[in-house]
Amino acid sequence: MKHIQILLIAAFVGMCAAVTASATDIKVIANPNVGASSVSADELKGVFLATKTSLSDGSHVEPVLEKDGPVHEAFVKEYLGKTDSALQIYYRSLVFTGKGSMPKTLAADADVVAYVAKTKGAVGYVSAGTSTAGVKTLEVK
């Protein structure tokens, strides 16, 4: 019963998140030195699951994540098909097996924009309403 309640709660929270932040409410941003102006969903997933370190045009990329919040939840769910805890386990297993390191994690949209703007190859995501000065917005196809 307790499991069912947890599931119900999770489903409810997910629905709320979907209501509060959907794909249209998220912008994918990148450092201006990234050549591409658009990225496919698979490429994006690869970048954020640390299986790709460059885009199809050859530009080097590295993911920047938000620590938590509806945008993070929505992005992880929408583009990576995971929950935040599963993503954390995924990254920790990468670290444990020596295949990668924990990604850069920032607390707010503004921090993300600022970090992306100054870090070459950085790719992040922010809510649609966030100012994107100094970064380029990537169109997700």
Binding site: I89, R92, S93, V95, F96, T97, G98, S101, M102
Partner: protein
């Protein structure tokens, strides 16, 4: 091989069998001992080593998983499980290192790996403990990555150890299997070779020492039987011919005997006639001797006649002289008568008469002398002829003597001939007896030859049976 007798060859083939069996058994014993040693090594050292290596690898994998659980799930309790698993790994590796009979390189490698895993375990305990307790800080991430590399190395080393152990065991067992297979195939080959060799020897022995000689003997005996059959047939025929010839011969001998008797009689007659001829010759000789003596008398008479004729001639000469003188006297008387004229006329006539008588006497004397001369000549011729006749009688006498001698010789020869013919008759009588015996013997020979022919036929039948028994008609 060619010099061995049958027994030796058979024993040779049996010996080859026994030798092959003994060799095969000895080799299988040796290889069995080697296989047991190999199996002992496998069961005492290689198998436990492989098992322990497998255990160590499994425990190491469990340890890594537990450490992974601890780090990934941030679960401190997994650290203890990982430590227990790691200890198990170390113990398993130390056990491998202490297995007696394991190659030194393997033992040393296992011991070194045990030490390195123990070190890794200690380091991992600290690093992962810190990572679990304090989250994955940047420094902690570095340490975790370094540990991950070492873990991979240790995992690879463990896998290598396990694979080597398994490979050792596999090599040992497959060597054993190969050895066993080799032993099997070698035993099989040995058996086959022994079988083939012994079979070949037996085959050759049977063929060369039994079948071959028997077939040769059969061939020889068949040839001999054929020849004997021909010979006995010829003998039978010859016997028959000899018998017939002997019978014919007997008939001829009888004829000869009869002829001989005739000849004997004729010869005796010849002898008799020769004796008679001898007698006749003796008589003829006496007659001739008498004739010779008569001729001698005749010759003497003739000589006397001749002498008488010469005496008559002398007388006739005297008469002639007388007539001559008378004539002269007549002439003288005529002359005297003429002178006496007339007185004398008558006288002159007488004187003329006397002179004519004297003439006639002289003429008669001359005629008689001529006759006597002729007679003397004839008598001389007769004497000569009588001498010739005497000589001829002498020759006849001599010839008759020779003839008598010849006839005597003929008579004695005829006697000898008669005796010889008698001997021949006896010999022919014996020949006749022998011929009769020959006839019976030839008959017996012909009978024997016929029996021999039938015996040869029997021999031939037995040979056919023998050929069927040997079963190598054309060998």
């Amino acid at each position: 091989m060619r010099r061995l007798n049958i027994t030796a060859r058979i024993w040779l083939s049996v010996g080859v069998f026994i030798l092959g069996y003994v060799l095969s058994t000895a080799l299988s014993q040796i290889q069995g001992a080697q296989a047991r040693a190999s199996l002992r090594a496998a069961s005492a050292a290689l198998f436990p080593a492989a098992q322990r290596s497998q255990e160590a690898e499994s425990a190491f994998q469990r340890m890594v998983k537990s450490f992974g659980d601890a780090v990934v799930m941030q679960d401190p309790s997994a650290l203890d499980r990982a430590a227990a698993d790691g200890q198990q790994v170390v113990e398993a590796l130390r056990a491998v290192a202490s297995i007696p009979g394991l190659p030194a390189a393997r033992s040393q490698a296992a011991g070194a790996l045990a030490a390195s895993v123990a070190q890794l375990l200690a380091d991992a305990r600290g690093t992962y403990g810190a990572a679990v307790a304090g989250g994955l800080s940047a420094a902690s991430q570095e340490q975790v990555r370094a540990l991950a590399a070492r873990t991979d190395e240790a995992m690879a080393a463990l896998a290598k150890t396990k694979d080597q152990s398994a490979a050792d065991l596999h090599v040992q067992l497959s060597g054993l299997e190969d050895s066993s297979a080799r032993q099997e195939s070698f035993g099989l080959a040995m058996f086959a070779a022994t079988l083939v060799l012994a079979g070949a020897i037996v085959h050759l022995t049977i063929r060369r020492s039994i079948t071959g000689p028997v077939v040769r003997v059969i061939g020889g005996v068949q040839g001999a039987a054929d020849q004997a059959a021909r010979a006995s047939a010829q003998t039978a025929q010859s016997g028959m011919e000899v018998s017939n010839n002997a019978q014919e011969q007997a008939a001829c001998i009888e004829q000869t005997s009869a002829s001989l008797e005739e000849i004997s009689a004729t010869t005796r007659q010849n002898a008799d006639r020769a004796a008679e001829a001898d007698r006749l010759m003796q008589a003829a000789r006496q007659t001739v001797e008498r004739a010779a003596r008569a001729m001698n008398d005749l010759t003497a008479s003739m000589n006397l006649i001749s002498k008488s004729s010469r005496q008559v001639a002398g007388v006739l000469k005297d008469i002639d002289e007388i007539a001559f003188h008378t004539n002269i006297l007549a002439l003288n008387a005529a002359v005297e008568a003429a002178r006496a004229g007339q007185a004398g006329a008558g006288f002159s006539v007488v004187a003329d008469e006397v002179r004519s008588l004297a003439h006639r006497a002289a003429e008669a004397a001359r005629n008689s002398g001529a006759i006597i001369e002729r007679t003397a000549g004839d008598v001389s011729k007769g004497v000569d002829l009588a001498g010739h006749a005497h000589a001829a009688f002498q020759e006849v006498s001599t010839t008759i003597a020779s003839g008598t001698q010849v006839v005597s010789q003929i008579a004695s020869s005829s006697d000898e001939q008669a005796r010889a013919i008698a001997n021949i008759g006896q010999a022919i009588a014996r020949i006749e007896a022998l011929t009769q015996r020959n006839v019976s013997h030839a008959q017996q020979t012909a009978d024997g030859a016929s029996q021999m022919t039938s015996q040869v036929e029997n021999t031939r039948r037995y040979l056919e049976e023998l050929v069927a028994v040997v079963g190598l008609r054309n060998a």
